[in-house]
Amino acid sequence: MITAGIDSGAKNVKAVIMKDGRVVGKAMAPAGLDTKAAAENVYNEALKAAGAEKKDVRKVFATGVGRKSCDCAQGEVTEADADAKGIRFVMPNVRTVIDVGAEEGRAVRINQHGDVVDFAINEKCAAGAGAFVEAMARALETEVEKMGDLYDRSTKEIDMNAQCAVFAESELVSLIHSQTAKADIARAVLNAIGDRIVSMMRRVGVEKDVAAIGGMALNGGFIKAIERELNITIGVPADPQYVSAIGAAIAAAEQRMEV
């Protein structure tokens, strides 16, 4: 049986094709202006990668902020459920998962059956989302991807006072003016977003194993900031941005079985 999952995020749209419990194709593209077209495109790309055709697919499920605009999907699943189903598939021992994307951050606690026990979500404030790090990277004249390396090179822990991304940008500029090392600033930035996510994790309760998914999971500094704060180890699966889409594809398969 072939099913597909599409995760329509604020910045990127991801699609995954699953066949009999295995991922056989995936694709990702920027959401751009037309999320509808983007979803259609990544779905086709993923099909191509899987060597499959639309008619082979039993069911397509969508998740993510733009899930309503995925015309190719016949069903949808909430982000928290998609996270839970996806992480259970890639890392079955995980009980707490954080999913930090461009404009959203989530902490989801799941039980041994993969059911969502509790979750917290921030979609209102950039300070707890990837957009914060992007804005700070821009102000630091570097790239988000390099922030992790900068974090590792930092020798001094400094605090940022501002929580708001807009205010933090001005604070960052004055830190640069006062000759603060770029690496130390990058670390302060990643510590700051780490703190926001940690407070969401504490709200839902941190139970081991803990994993991180979403685009920010690729940022080693961000992961380390949370690990240090909570004194835990966080697992990051391969291709962490696709985990929600996998969850959606699994939801599509499960629904098939129930019918």
Binding site: E103, K124, C125, A127, A131, F132, C164, A165, V166, V173
Partner: protein
Amino acid sequence: MADGKKEFWRWPESRWANPEIDWKKGKLITAGIDVGSVSAQGVIMVDGELYCYGNMRTGSSSPDSAINVFNKATEGTGLALRDVHFTVGTGYGRVNVPFGNRAITEIACHAKGANWMYGPAVRTVLDMGGQDCKAIKIDDKGKVVAFLMNDKCAAGTGRGMEVFADLLGVPIEDVGDMSLSVAEEPPPVSSTCVIFAKSEAGALLRAGWPKEKVLAAYCSAMAHRVLSLLEKVNVEREFAITGGIAKNQGVVKRLTKELGFEACEAKWHNQSYADKGFPFDTQIAGAIGAALFGKALAEKGSR
């Protein structure tokens, strides 16, 4: 912006000196220095009369900003720091005013300043600053009765508006009027967060919205945002707005429409100041309050 790009957020700085006063004949000269996170104001009062003021952007150093704004206010008057009997610092950088005799919170200073500028009938002051927004309830003496403040989030602050001016390439002083030129009021921008509102605005522009419509949607969102602060503090008339956003009619008109009553006109309560057409700057309320506190403290101490 080193690339020579026009800085649309950069609002005009101002200064003014009262031509009718000879400070050398004054008995008590006091200064109020309000060092905010975005702007700094300096006010000099001679025997309780407004002598001069300056209003400028702050740099990265509060002590430098305090000195610069004092110099701006007193430019060409011959008045120097040593001539000032008492200086009160206020605002975010109040403890970093090198020549300050005392630091007083901006809440107290804005309350006192608004009472003096707009008159004793004012019961609610909304100060919309560069990086914060305060709703202050005051009595007829300008004393603070209650207040609420947001200094954690750029939504509803001048910084948020600066971001939008820059995004749309509209000089900040034109934003209000331009936003009022729409034929039909659009729904407000739905994101609270300025960063998210910025991407929302980008999408609206790409969907073909003209700039003025996007600005209308943002001014309306900002009015909503501060309205909730005002409601929490139980807003009462007379109602005065201070700070930089008070100059933005796009926000003021939308806010007062929702409130159901008008805000005080930006005009001196002191009839002779108004008659003589002394310029009225809504941004100097905090510094005026500080200079007034300075007068009271100097008289009490009679040093």
